[in-house]
Amino acid sequence: MTESQPILEVSNLCTTFRRGDRVLPAVRDVSFSLGKGEVLGLVGESGSGKSVTLRSILGLSRRYGEVSGAVRWMGQDIAALPERRLRRIRGREIAMIFQEPMTSLNPLLTVGMQLTETLKAHTDLGRKARRDRAIEMLDHVGIPAAASRLQDYPHQFSGGMRQRVMIAIALAASPKLLLADEPTTALDVTIQAQILDLILSLADELEMGVILVTHDLGVVAQTCQNVAVMYAGRIVETGPVRQVLRSPRHPYTEGLMRSVPQDVPPRTQLYSVPGTPPSLDALPPGCAFAARCANRTAACLDARPALAPVGGQRSLACFNPARAAQGDAA
């Protein structure tokens, strides 16, 4: 779907936090790329490093931890950029929306103020033009009676409406890439469907790339073209959504898919991945999933499998993956 040059290339991204004498490698060696207009899903369980990856792309983690690796945005390595230069990219070219629509808006400023503030920082529009654009944006994300709601405060909006406001702010400067960190997790399914539809139609319209972080495989199936599955800070499997979800090859992806109660007889035992994810400060030397894996061999305990292409645009980090389904290989 995206033969053109990737707009974003992340290579060997590592983010490590230190708490006292504990070293927490939250993101380890993450590499991926994103084409123009592509929607990539980043899935994994809590603590797998999805959100930190997203934050590291925009340089939001470096205040708290050590970030290494390269983040090439339109050919420029922004991981090395000083804060001042980065600020011109944040919000203008790459925008982000967060999980909590309740806490990511300033409760003391009106919604109109927060919208025009973004426009003032990133565009040359005059005061009147900013106001018009703000109304247009609110209208665009489906907030009824947009003009009259500019003077309202965030608490006067419901959760779904606040998330719409967040999206309006993020998209105000027409960014080329949207980083969405669990944008619908705090919302009800009916509102979730509305918001996802909105993000997709806007991405399509503005030819904007989207990285969608979520733990809901259903959301990935319905919205993304490609998916990357993370476990303990690494990408363990990546590829086109159809292929990965239909025939997962990494045992972890397989386990995740099977633990979702869909198409299983009701009230029977669900498949569950035994054990729990390893703690970040006690990662094993080999594959982090080895302790919970049914396909484990001696090699898995000693060496760490690297993410390697397996054909058909898919990559896999596993020594003993499930066999490829028919017609799956390129």
Binding site: E45, S46, S158, G159, G160, M161, D188, V189, T190, I191, Q192, A193, Q194, L196, D197, H215, D216, L217, G218, V219, A221, Q222, T223, V241, R242, L245, R246, G255, L256, M257, S259, V260, P261, Q262, V264, P266, R267, T268, Q269, L270, Y271, S272, V273, T276
Partner: protein, 332 residues
């Protein structure tokens, strides 16, 4: 599945909000949140009844009424024929023992300063389930039951993961040998792989101990998996209730249809018939007259704005509260 364990009739609960200064100046009464508006249902022995709905619809309020954390203003709840809010019943601790609740947040529902052993033995002592000498053995048995290691008894809640904490919560509820379990979003805070472990445990224990479970959750796939029957709640009312498989395969109420079709499918090519609801859940402070769903309903007509539909049985399905249920489902 025959005997009715618990019966809820026309349950109504309003939360009175404090009068704001503006209310006082304008001589208005304080505002009222209508959390429950005439909920009726029956729990049968050994079944799992799933309760689904959007946030703010009253699912948790219902659960809390059942364990007497809230006292409803209207309606009644009877347990084996006895009114649980009657004067003499209020002092009756045995009800508290036989109906146990498990909460959503495994981080705030366990006392951080008590070890697992203390948490479990407290429940045993309060209800005098075992003589003092047998308490330790019973605690060990309970840990075994929820598959926690025996050394868990000496540990504090913060030493456990979310899934393990929910096991402790289950063990605490089971300590007093209840008949009914109220699970309010028991696994919502957990990751899918851990969720499956806890759900498996719950299903297995239900089988073994013949428990009756009210399973409140917003994850529709999960509710479908664990429930025998399901009730769909909208703005404090049940809009549809019936056999789980029938309801999920062929929902009859337009709200159930929209709610179920909004859940994203795992199959990328199954875009579903995706009925997109317009707008959001109206505020429970300002419930629309007539059918509360009419403002979002694609099938709404004049009658829906004026008259509230009643929950009535429909052939081959459960009970549905909708004026147009027949037309909607013959067209479909």
């Amino acid at each position: 599945m025959s005997e009715t364990v618990m019966e809820i009739r026309d349950l109504g609960l309003e939360f009175q909000l404090g009068r704001t200064l503006a209310d006082v100046i304008q001589r208005r009464p304080g505002r009222v949140v209508n959390a429950l508006n005439g909920v009726s249902l029956a729990l049968k022995k050994g079944e799992t009844l799933g309760v689904v709905g959007e946030s703010g619809c009253g699912k948790s309020t219902l659960a809390r009424c059942i364990v007497r954390l809230y006292t409803p203003q209207r309606g009644r709840i009877t347990y084996h024929g006895q009114d649980i809010f009657a004067e003499d019943a209020r002092a009756d601790r045995s009800y508290n023992r036989r109906v146990q609740m498990m909460f959503q947040d495994p981080y705030s529902s366990l006392n951080p300063r008590m070890t697992t052993g203390q948490i479990l033995s407290e429940a045993l002592r309060v209800h005098q389930m075992r003589p003092e000498s047998e308490i330790d053995a019973r605690v060990a048995e309970l840990l075994e039951l929820v598959r926690l290691p025996q050394d868990a008894a000496g540990k504090l809640p913060h030493e456990f993961s979310g899934g393990q904490r929910q096991r402790i919560a289950i063990a605490r509820a089971l300590a007093v040998e209840p008949e009914v379990l109220i699970a309010d979003e028991l696994v919502s805070a957990l990751d899918v792989s851990v969720q499956a472990q806890v759900v498996n445990l719950l299903l297995e224990l239900q089988e073994r101990l013949n428990l009756t479970i009210l399973f409140v959750a917003h994850d529709l796939r999960l509710v479908r998996h664990v429930s025998n029957r399901v009730a769909v709640i909208y703005l404090g009312r049940i809009v549809e209730i019936g056999d789980s498989e029938t309801l999920f395969a062929r929902p009859a109420h337009p709200y159930s249809q929209a709610l179920l079709s909004a859940a994203p499918s795992l199959d990328p090519d199954d875009k579903g018939s995706a009925i997109r609801l317009q707008g959001e859940l109206p505020s429970p402070m300002d419930v629309p007259p007539g059918c509360p769903f009419h403002v979002r309903c694609p099938h709404a007509s004049e009658i829906c704005k004026q008259q509230e539909p009643r929950l009535t049985a429909h052939e081959g399905r459960g009970e549905v509260a909708c004026h147009h249920v027949k037309e909607i489902n013959t067209h479909a």
